[in-house]
């Protein structure tokens, strides 16, 4: 007897008990749908974190001044002015593994321009900053070395600032006042969205570091040119740990620290924090998939249960089939195909429900989702395997019936 004939017999048997078949399938449908949805939600969350890491700037190290101790109280990172603009340039110049090193001065202030009035943060930066922090100029131009050299009063606006000041109008070429200092807007920045901590990364203004120092923050030019932080991007493929060590070595040298003396700066590797987050979201996703798989297993047991009932109910039919010449393996095939058909149809419906559910979650809950073909194939394979695995015992039981006893069964 060929497989096609077995399939036809199986489909007929399933049609005869429509409600029962449907309820049995429900277990598999829910299981498969749950696996697909959970994997999609899990990998969506992972994808989002990955894109945030990319947006933050991959291989990013943030260099901050060290902490001060004042009357026995440590004042926290960045409270000492030990870091200078020259440190930032030296890192760029002397360490080959560094792709971009951007010293940054940070400040906040009121910005007036267009029809708006907005309080925001500004960063005094060098052209390397764009590369280090993955900022892309959306309109206009970026900063040039001569802007730094001449302390030009030019600024680039983040998306949030641009919209608050100018609405939908084009801000490029407009003049604004930052802390009452007049600036010309030379460009806008591409949107980055929220940071992992929920901060609006687009609520920012970038200007030349020299302009920020000399014209906005008003530091005396004679003093050391201290900076708030240095953003350092390590070249792709370079070892982050080794790069970090080289930077530390260089800075200790430049700051003339004796061996045994504490660092007067701190290096933070943000990608590591995010990588840990990514790992935890991956584990969460796996956990969700594991829980969903349990429901698939329960669905499989449902199939086994109903197949056992079916074999008992159809003992006479089995006896008759054997009397007219069915061998044990024909009966085995028949019931195995029946269980597998049940599982595969359930699996296909489950895929439809799973994809629908995933899309619905993406639409209504606004969660990031990522559908891919692998979990779908996995779920179908799993469903078929469940049919074969859980169908085998009842099918073997049927195939081992003695024809004479099966025929007499009441």
């Amino acid at each position: 007897m060929n497989l096609l004939a077995s399939m036809r017999i199986a489909l007929r048997a399933l049609r005869i008990n429509k409600l029962r078949s449907a309820l049995t399938m429900l277990g598999i449908i829910i299981g498969v749908a749950a696996v697909i949805t959970m994997i999609a939600v899990g990998s969506g969350a992972q994808e989002r974190i990955e894109s945030q890491i990319k947006g933050l700037g991959t291989n990013l190290i943030i260099l901050m001044p060290g902490s001060t101790t004042s009357g026995g109280v440590r004042m926290g990172a960045g409270s000492r002015n030990t870091l200078t603009e020259e440190d930032g340039y030296a890192i760029q110049r002397d360490i080959a593994a560094v792709q971009a090193s951007a010293p940054t001065l940070r400040g906040t202030g009121q910005v007036v321009g267009g029809s708006g009035n907005w309080s925001t943060a500004f960063q005094g930066v060098t052209p390397e900053y764009f590369e280090a922090r993955n900022w892309v100029v959306a309109q206009g131009r970026g900063l040039e070395p001569q802007d730094i050299a001449s302390s030009a009063k030019v600024a680039l606006l983040g998306d949030t600032v641009a919209r608050n000041l100018f609405g939908d109008a084009d801000p490029v070429g407009q003049s604004i006042r930052i802390r009452k200092v007049p600036f010309i807007v030379i460009g806008t920045l591409e949107r980055k969205g929220q940071s992992l901590m929920g901060q609006d990364q687009d609520d920012v203004i970038l200007m030349p570091i020299s302009t920020a120092r000399n014209r906005v923050l008003g530091q005396a030019s004679g003093r050391l040119r201290t900076v708030g932080s240095v953003s350092i991007k390590v070249r792709d493929g370079e070892d982050m740990k080794a790069a970090e060590e080289q930077i530390r070595e260089l800075l200790r040298q430049r700051h003339r620290l004796q061996p045994g003396q504490e660092d007067d700066f701190s290096l933070r590797n943000l990608s590591e924090v995010l990588a840990a987050r990514e790992e935890s979201s991956r584990i969460m996703g796996l956990l969700l998939a594991a829980v969903a798989s349990v429901s698939l297993l329960v669905g499989g047991i449902g199939i086994m249960n109903i197949m056992l009932v079916s074999v008992t109910e159809r003992t006479r039919e089995i006896g008759l089939r054997m009397a007219v010449g069915a061998r044990g393996r024909d009966i085995l095939t028949q019931f195995l195909v029946e269980a597998t058909t049940l599982a595969i149809i359930g699996g296909l419906l489950g895929i439809a429900l799973g994809i629908g559910g995933t899309v619905a979650i993406g639409q209504f809950a606004g969660w990031p989702i990522q559908l891919s073909i692998e979990p779908v194939l996995l779920a179908v394979g799993f469903a078929a395997a469940i049919g074969i695995f859980f169908g085998f015992y009842p099918a073997r039981k049927a195939s081992r019936l003695l024809p004479i006893e099966a025929l007499r069964y009441e």
Binding site: R12, E317, G319, V324, G325, P403, L407
Partner: protein, 249 residues
Amino acid sequence: MSSPLIITRELAKSYELGGLSVQALRGVSLAIGSGEFVAVMGPSGSGKSTFMNLLGCLDTPSSGEYLLAGERVSGLDGDALAAIRNRRIGFVFQSFNLLARTSALENIALPLLYCGVPAAERERRAAARLAEVGLAERGHHHPAQLSGGQQQRVAIARALVNDPVLILADEPTGALDTLTSCEVMALLQQLNRGGMTVVLVTHERDIAEFAQRVVTFRDGRVVEDQRIAEPKDAAAMAAQLRAGAGVNP
């Protein structure tokens, strides 16, 4: 007498029932020729059903020998017995044993499914057999839509579909009224006249008298083996019954 189709030598069968060994069959030696119409009679527990099951290769003997068409059947394994049932024997049961919710044609074609006959050929042969039993227009009816007599005729068509050498009928009229019984017996007689060997199990003398030979069992042994010189004609009796009841043929 024609050459023996069935030969049994000291065929015996015992069962274990609750720790007790029950001798259902105590050594039966019998020869049945090709083209014979034999009725097996006996009260319940006489061993006639056990004997039928052994003839039908549905069960294996505890001892003794069984040859069907010259082939030694006793001692074959399950798959080989299934193949013999499939190709050489046609079964007719008291309760018809048709598959519910399955058309008459598909029921008839069932044995062909298990010997690899392609679908188109299965349908052609099933239709031919259905016509032979006079139900050509009922091919797509399900058993529940057929009368008892019609169901039994479908079952006979199924028994014939693989051109067996032997028809085994186990109380084929047990669930039917007198007229329908006569019609079914007429069909078996007609097949027998065409050369088919028929072995019939019954406990009704009336039915046994349609056969050419009556073998009576008691306590697991053959106690009487009687030839009937002039078997009753079932077709004639059916016609008579129909006339008596005022039913048009």
